[in-house]
């Protein structure tokens, strides 16, 4: 039987087209990872929170061992300072769109104890926004943003059961929600 000019050619062409289309689709698409649209408002709050913590953790000037404003606040246990500064960042806007100041937050610090307690994780409430009554009724989900912050020494007034001596990384977690 002579098979020349039959199905094999068509299969070959089909396979070729599939490969080309696949490659073209993949290489021609934008590669910025974009969260799904169902959670876009969560994503906006989350990005804002990460940006705010990153900016607070960036010293304004170069120094040999310059600590960021955020690290200084944690070291001084300055919850009022964190509250006003974090709130200032959350409410920064250019005035292009109508701005609604509706975000609330609650910040917690986690640190690990090596000396006493053999590696247990210690946590304490650090700061929170002024909770309005509406906020207590909210049904909006809270978004968690975190950042590791370098402290050159343990916060002032801490005892051994709360903090190890010396420089360490602590984890700051901020829950943000819309009231």
């Amino acid at each position: 039987m002579n098979d020349e000019g039959q199905l094999y050619t068509i299969e070959g062409i089909t396979a070729g087209v599939i490969m080309l289309v696949t490659a073209f689709t993949i290489f021609n698409s934008g590669l910025v990872y974009t969260p799904g649209d169902a959670h876009i408002s969560d994503m906006q709050i989350q990005q804002l929170g990460y940006d705010a913590l990153a900016m607070m953790d960036t010293p304004a000037e170069l120094g040999p061992v310059k600590e960021s404003p955020l690290a200084e606040m944690i070291k001084a246990k300055n919850d009022a300072g964190f509250k006003s500064e974090f709130n200032r960042y959350l409410t920064l806007h250019t005035g292009t769109t109508e701005f609604v100041d509706s975000l609330e937050f609650n910040a917690t610090v986690f640190n690990r104890l090596k000396n006493s307690g053999a590696g247990t994780v210690h946590s304490y409430h650090f700061s929170n926004s002024t909770m309005s009554e509406v906020s207590m009724l909210t049904r909006e989900p809270a978004i968690s943003v975190t950042r590791y912050v370098w402290l050159s020494d343990r916060p002032g007034g801490s005892v051994d059961s709360e903090y190890d001596n010396g420089g360490q990384l602590v984890l700051l977690e901020v829950l943000i929600w819309r009231r």
Binding site: M1, N2, E4, G5, Q6, L7, I10, T14, I18, V21, T25, I26, S29, G30, V32, T34, P35, D37, I40, M43, Q44, Q47, L48, D51, A52, A54, M55, T58, P59, A60, E61, L62, Y89, L92, H93, T94, G95, T96, T97
Partner: protein, 365 residues
Amino acid sequence: MDAIRRIKDEDAILSIDFLAGFTIFILSLIMVISLVPGVLAGIQSDNIDYDAVAYRTSVILVEDPGAPDSWNYEWDYPMIHKADMQRLGLAVDKETPNILSRGKVNFFFNLSPDFIFSAEEYRDKVIFGDIPYLYNISLKVDGESKTYYAGGGTEVPDYQYGYMRRLVKVKEPSSAEINFTNYPGQYTLPLDRNVTSITSDFSVLFPYDVLINKSVNPAYRIDPQSERVTINLSNICSDLNKSDLESMNFAGIAFRREGGGSEIGSLVPWKNETYSLMVNEMPYPGSGGEEVLVNSTNPLITLILYKVPTDEVHFPMFVNFSFSHVFKNNFTDHTYLSGIHRYDYNTSNVTQPELKDAVMEVAIW
């Protein structure tokens, strides 16, 4: 015999089986292909997600240094470089997201009169996508009253639009404010009473090996290759004995490599591709200009370096300000202006790059 041979010969005959199978296959292939773009991005299909485009635009602007990543176009004919720019990211460096370069911000928001982006260019180089989106990109720097808007943007509508707000810091370029009253005795030299005139150089040294050092975080780095540097000389003869000076003149500048060597760069025009020199905010030629009396008029001399005037950035460079002194008599010993001011990370020498809080809003519809 003829009939049997015809049946056996199957050349160029398609079976019904094949036709059915092939049709099903092609149909499913078409369906898959039409699904794929929606799965991958949701941007190129009809189902436009404006929020996703706004998010993508903000990421490109805030976290990406752009392509090319250095926009050192302040100097010569900037418009011709626009075609080379493929992506407009404003970050200082890819290692430092959310830290924006002041120079890039000025270009992007059309604050430089020689360099204007059109709406079409914003769409091609930062928003992307086949659809001609409308946009409004704004930036407000803390402490500045003005909000910057990307050119060609329109007012944000009340109805549905994609939105993203990003918190950033804007890196301001460094500068050396050399007020000689602050450096007593540091930049004067003694001179024998019988020498009644002398021409000397006051030098500002750029130690590139110290400045462009990878160990310095790009957010705080002084990089004369990609950012402007400014030198201001004021109260120039405050540390000299004015009653002894007949005249003191400023004669121009020269760029020299460390260890002598020949001059670098062309110095004839007052503003060329590398620098702009001003005396009391009036343009002044780098060399060959009419000398400026310094001791009685107390001028402010400003030099803005847009670009390293040489490609060999590994050699430290001197910027020499040339002064001629003529003294009244030979009764006493004289002092004259001379010395080397280091442009480095020492805060007493140089006002370091400052990071200013800012907020950027991107709206797409």
